[in-house]
């Protein structure tokens, strides 16, 4: 998995979710195979803990692995980050698990009772009991633990949005896990299908954490200008400024010093258009020539030729795959591609 396999379409928002789903499903499979082939070395009171801890470690580690792969950080750094995230996730889940047994269980059931007219029995004594209310807390704890583990590496203080996303992502992952698990438990087929509930519950956990907490960031992409007209087809140049710096790319027929050259015979002026990036990955095209300059995208076209009586050149925001027509036959395309694309 790397950034070159993820085009800048809506699918990029789902990629991390899919891969976290793979990691969590793998954790389920490894647990099931270990239990069935080798057998547990732990006591039965730790059955749920071991399974969920495996998921927590797999999802938090997996999420950091994905990020490391996409950012192409060094192998040592990647391994270190994965270990820290997995360790923090495991540790926090272990603490939550123990607290649940000792004190949080009763508190949690008291809170549940506030929501219901009838009392929910506090039945933690039978560790073999399969019930939504018995397991819900640990599902949520698993989700929150993954959040804490990944946050410990990605940083707590980046932004409230970042922090909230992770925490809420973990909570949503735990809750969706519990709901899918419960669906198979009670409502699928004749009920009590803990086999598929485990498989699809795990998948859901990873998927929703990946979907809600962290997705492929836009900063890994950059806008590119790519020549579409036949004379210089395929030549391209990135508008690869980061948030701290600005960069403007100039397109025209001036032979020396421009970022992207197109021949005059195509009606392209010496300095025809320029493109630059603003904060928040907002790409802008500025028309600099009185010759025809038009952006075309589905159901929309924008004229950008320079009006001498206007105090400033016309500008418009660029979106990936916009076509920019210049002069008689000069065509370039704006496309979002990975920043490191060669």
């Amino acid at each position: 998995m790397n950034i070159f396999l993820i085009p800048y379409t809506w699918m990029r928002h789902v990629q991390v979710a899919l891969w976290c789903g793979i990691f969590s499903t793998t954790a389920w499979w490894v647990y099931v195979m270990f239990f069935l082939y080798i057998g547990p070395f732990w006591g039965e009171s730790y059955d749920g803990f071991i399974w969920l801890a495996g998921l927590v470690v797999a999802v938090s580690g997996g999420s950091l692995l994905l990020e490391g792969n996409m950012r192409r950080t060094s192998l040592r750094k990647r391994v270190l980050k994965i270990m820290i995230a997995s360790g923090v996730s495991f540790g926090s889940f272990f603490v939550l698990f123990l607290l649940y047994q000792v004190v949080l269980g009763s508190v949690f059931f008291s809170l549940l009772n506030l929501l219901k007219t009838e009392d929910i029995a506090v039945d933690l004594a039978d560790i073999h009991r399969t019930a939504f209310q018995n397991q819900l807390f640990l599902f949520l704890a698993a989700g929150v633990s993954v959040s804490l583990g990944t946050l410990s590496v990605r940083g707590w203080r980046q932004s409230w949005h970042h922090f909230g996303n992770h925490l809420l992502g973990g909570f949503i992952a735990g809750l969706s896990f519990a709901l899918v698990w419960t669906y198979f438990l009670y409502f699928y087929s004749s009920g009590l299908d803990l086999y598929y509930s485990g498989a699809f519950g795990s998948l859901t956990f990873g998927f929703f954490f990946g979907l809600s907490a962290w997705s492929v960031p836009d900063e890994l992409y950059a806008g590119w200008l790519r020549v579409m007209s036949s004379s210089r087809f395929g030549h391209r140049v990135p508008i690869d400024a980061t948030a701290e710096e600005t960069k403007e790319r100039f397109v025209g027929s001036y032979a020396n010093g421009l970022d992207l050259y197109l021949p005059l015979k195509e009606g392209v002026m010496e300095l025809h258009v320029s493109a630059f990036v603003e904060s928040g990955q907002k790409y802008i095209l500025r028309g600099l020539s009185q010759q025809a300059t038009q952006i075309k995208r589905p159901l929309e076209s924008v004229n950008l030729q320079y009006e001498p009586q206007s105090p400033q050149p016309a500008e418009t925001q660029l979106y990936s795959e916009d076509l920019i027509y210049m002069g008689n036959s000069g065509v370039i395309e704006f496309i979002m591609l990975p920043r490191e694309e060669k």
Partner: protein, 494 residues
Amino acid sequence: MLHWFLWLSIFWGCGSPEKEVIPYSMTRIGSYNTVLEGDDREIKIFNSRMDCLDLIGNLNLNRPANQKMSPEYEQKEIVNCMPWIDRKNGEVQLSFALMRGDSPEPIPLTEKYVDVVHDQHDVKKDASAKVTLKRHEKILGSQLYMLIIDGSGSMDNLTGVVKDNRELTRMDFVKRALLNPSVSSAFFPEGSNNQVVMYTFTDGTPVRLGGMISSKSEYKAIVRTLQSLGGYTHLYDAIDFGMNQLEESKDIEEYLAFQSASPTILVLTDGFNNQARSDRCASNAKRLEKLIQKIDEKRTNRDSNLLVLPRIYTVGLGTKIREKVIFREDYQSDVDVDILCGQYKRMQIDGKLEKIGIDNVSLEWIAKVGGGQSFVSESESGLAKAFRAVAETRFKWFEIRYKVSPMWMRKSFKTMIKIRSMASVSSEIDIYPHAWLDGPNGKLQKEGWTNPRSPYHSSIIFMNIIGLILFLSILGAAIFNIRRVLVGRLNPPK
């Protein structure tokens, strides 16, 4: 502090003594507990592969050289013996044997005489539940049936049933029942080396009819010679005599020794044990006590010769004098007059008492201590049914499957197996399901039960999920590139 906390938690989580994981599942199973032990016998529920390897291995070892199990069959039997649970279908499979000491005792157990209790719910009483019993390891050795038939004067009493213009006597009933083809086939099944030895008794020493009977034709000829001899009914003495004959009669002893045959004593009577004119029901208490103590001593003494350890069945011709009898716990050693006779304890044993009914309590008592069963019937077909039951094929271990609502398996539960025929024994076993997950659901078979699915099934599910996700993850890139090809963004304009 943290160090202490971690150690505490590790110890708390570890250690589940005597719990095994049910193969191909994520459920644990405990060891069985005997709830009710019956005269030195108990139900052993096999809970692990080791248990099953031991059982099947020993059974195979004890088979005659020409009847050893093939390796494939042995493996199949081991799998059948191991417990299995399919919570999706609410199914539990357990294997058990009636154990005397370390070896399984062969019994002719049928579904009717087994009860399964799932966490205090009698499974058989639940209309939606299902129970089935599969019998394993049929007794392949020879059997010796010792038939001791009452020849007292009362056996000449008429029954009121007319056949071939002649009113049948009680003895005619017995003869017709014994001659029933299904009964003779039960005593001499195809290919068996079984033998029958027949006695008739009144008072004094029982009289042997013929020698060792080894064929149906010989058997039929001997049965036809059965007749009432007149006199009292020394029932208890006849049983005592029969037991002694197993060791004292040369031909019987030789047959048992050379054929490794198992002896079964069948006693038939139409009344009470009656040794003198003045006998009352209460007079039998001490006599019965002496007999049952002897039977018990013989059956429970570890030094007893296993070859002459008989199983005693009793058959009563007539109607029961008392319907409901509750035995005390010390029934093997002590006979209480009130339990034996009830309101009839002072009544003289004569035709008047025998008209009310036969002494079914004595018969039940003897069979209970003798490891057999007691039957009472006043019809010819009822007698034939009882004889067939006595000669029924016996099995050494059993596989019981039951199905209840899957919702009953959402927590740990106890399963109790009770036998109500040869002996009243029961054992229970604890089953501890995984609270979160299960292994692959069972594979439904034709009979409506499931068999374990290989753990590889989880790999199939895993591969499918992973395959689908990988497909979806490249789908975005694929669609993006295909669309760009179709709209001509990847080729220069012409």
